[in-house]
């Protein structure tokens, strides 16, 4: 049924499947490869083309995950029945498995020594956050926006950073949120500087930087360059090293968007 003579209107590039389903291209590829969920035909030039049926199968997987199915189980189920059928309730086993694997993941990601932090029987804070992050992931992965994997990674980064993970998460969240509302480059810079301080570091004009400074400019060319500073091997340093690369990229993106709209305005 997947021949090259198929009606061109029903074949589309993977980007179109992504647009219609809200699932990113890398994720679609992964589903294709791992679960055989998508059944593309090849054009004469070797490009893969997808059909409406592929879109329907992806939507069926999203529907199942929306009801609490794990992505793997949902994709395998949809792929095996070949078309989008009526959704079913997730089996209890499946739910339990997923809870266990979220917990397991959380425990594996704890920094050494954290296990002993809480009283017996009381899960350490990291595992709680990670488990809830894992739960979020179920709905999160059902409709991945561009960069969703990056965001998830960021969250894990924060969660893995130790017992102050909640504080870290809040700092990242507030900074990222602030970046959505900037009206000037300077505001982006101020948000980053505030985040550095909140994470236990400080900032210094690049001209006075010493060996404790991280060589990443937080000013984006607006005013004097400013570098974050934290004592080597300190907790603040560790947090900055984990969080700052991604946060600065986000800020850079926000600044680029802002400057682009300025360009378009004038």
């Amino acid at each position: 049924m997947h021949s090259q003579d198929e009606d061109p209107k029903t074949t589309m590039p993977i980007g179109e499947v992504s647009r219609r389903t809200g699932v990113t291209v890398p994720t679609l590829r992964a589903w294709e490869r791992r679960y055989g969920l998508l059944l593309p035909v090849r054009t004469a030039g070797g490009h893969r083309r997808y059909s409406d049926e592929d879109v329907q199968r992806v939507l069926a997987v999203l529907e199942l995950t929306g009801q609490g199915w794990g992505v793997g189980a949902a994709a395998r189920r949809v792929a095996s029945r070949g078309s989008a059928a009526a959704p079913a309730l997730p089996p209890a086993d499946e739910l339990r498995d997923r809870l266990w694997s979220a917990l397991d993941q959380a425990l594996r990601e704890l920094p050494p020594g954290t296990e002993a932090a809480g009283p017996p029987g009381d899960p350490p804070p990291t595992s709680r956050t990670e488990a809830s992050a894992g739960a979020l992931e179920v709905s999160g992965s059902s409709r991945q926006s561009a960069g969703a994997a990056t965001v998830r990674q960021r969250r894990r980064t924060a969660a893995a950073a130790g017992h102050q993970d909640l504080e870290l998460l809040q700092a990242i969240h507030e900074a990222t949120r602030g970046l959505l509302y900037i009206t000037s480059t300077r505001e982006a810079s101020e948000i980053l500087i505030a985040a550095v301080h909140r994470l236990g570091g400080s900032t210094i004009p690049a001209g006075q930087a010493d060996s404790w400074a991280l060589p990443i400019d937080l000013s984006f060319g607006e005013g004097e360059p400013v570098l974050p500073v934290a004592e080597p091997l300190s907790l603040a340093r560790m947090h900055l090293e984990q969080v700052l690369p991604g946060l600065v990229e986000d800020a850079r993106r926000a600044v680029q968007l802002l400057r682009r709209s300025e360009d378009l305005d004038g």
Partner: protein
């Protein structure tokens, strides 16, 4: 269209004036005149940044000047990036800086050139911890990982980044000035490929579509544990070498606390470059790249060239337990002496 030295000079002038708009206008002008984006990136932006580095090296520009210039080049790259038409139905690659490497502009240039060549690129930013990279790569379906390393002292971090991506079964291409002029260091890190510039990286990745590399050859560079032991002992070695330096370099007694701390930093740098040279078993890192660079940096800041030789001597005196390091130090001293005799 070839980008001329005069155009590079004009761009660097805009950087020197901190005139972002002029820099953007120049780049967009070239684009409108038909210069391909990748030529602007490699021929104008990368070359200008090399000049920025040279001006810092020779003490014409401060660290602040260097960062301000880099921010502008980065903004120009951002403006060019909007002009890239993202191709559809292409494979996904991850571009990242080596663990510890905070210079992200070269990696960002590579990311944009790869997008131009039709790759879907996730750019992870500066210094990504290897463990994060491993988890990220395991989570997304990616064709390959590109690791950028600009300064050789982060080759140890690059090694960890390479191994992290390979542990997820994904082939790794490495590039950047820190990797040197040929494939040797990349091979010693066990990377699956090396590229001298972003366009070459795009070509190599493209060739992997036809013939995927066998992921993760064993790193040949780790002859022994000496680079790791050296890294672990670095703080004590610096202190011990400071003691030797006091004996060999009397002016040190009159140094301020800040100056002494600079001297410690310099000794630490010498050791870090030694570690990188041992790690990749490539003495050029230490002898041909680092020592001449350090000499230029120090002499342009008013220190006598002999200070490098004295520093090497002090370190040589405390490295009894590190035979390969001692040998490299001896070669460095010999080279410095020869250069002093010939120059």
């Amino acid at each position: 269209m070839q980008i001329t030295a005069a155009q590079v000079e004009r761009f660097v002038d805009a950087l020197a004036r901190r005139d972002r708009k002029a820099a953007v206008r120049q780049a967009l002008g070239l684009l409108e005149a038909g210069t391909p984006i990748q030529d602007i990136v490699q021929g104008l932006l990368a070359r200008s940044q090399a000049e920025v580095g040279r001006r810092w090296e020779t003490n014409q520009w401060s660290v602040a000047d260097e960062h301000a210039a880099t921010a502008i080049t980065d903004a120009v790259l951002g403006v060019l990036a909007w002009r890239i038409e993202a191709a559809e139905d292409q494979d996904h690659v991850v571009v990242t800086c080596a663990e510890g490497e905070w210079h992200s502009l070269p990696a960002r240039m590579a990311a944009e050139v790869l997008r131009l060549h039709g790759w879907e690129v996730t750019f992870l930013g500066a210094s990504t911890p290897a463990d994060h990279l491993r988890r990220f790569v395991a989570e997304v379906d990616t064709f390959g990982v590109v690791v950028s390393c600009s300064v050789p002292i982060f080759l140890g971090g690059a090694l960890r980044s390479v191994q992290a991506a390979q542990s997820a079964g994904v082939p790794v291409l490495v590039g950047g000035r820190g990797l040197g002029p040929d494939e040797l260091r990349a091979m010693r890190l066990g990377a699956d490929g090396w590229a001298p510039d972003p366009v070459a990286a795009a070509d190599l990745l493209g060739s992997w579509r036809q013939q995927a590399p066998a992921v993760g050859r064993r790193p040949a560079g780790m002859l022994d544990a000496e680079p790791l032991e050296l890294e672990a002992a670095r703080p004590e070695l610096v202190e011990a070498a400071m003691g030797e330096l006091f004996l060999r370099f009397p002016p040190l007694a009159g140094y301020s606390e800040a100056q002494l701390s600079r001297s410690r930093e310099d000794l630490g740098y010498i050791l870090q470059f030694l570690e990188a040279a041992l790690l990749t078993d490539d003495p050029r890192i230490f002898l041909d790249e680092f020592l001449p660079w350090l000499t230029r940096v120090l002499t342009s800041r008013g220190l006598p060239a002999a200070v490098v030789a004295v520093g090497l001597e002090a370190l040589g005196a405390v490295l009894h337990a590190f035979p390969r390091s001692r040998q490299l130090i001896a070669q460095g001293r010999q080279l410095a002496a020869d250069r002093a005799a010939n120059g």
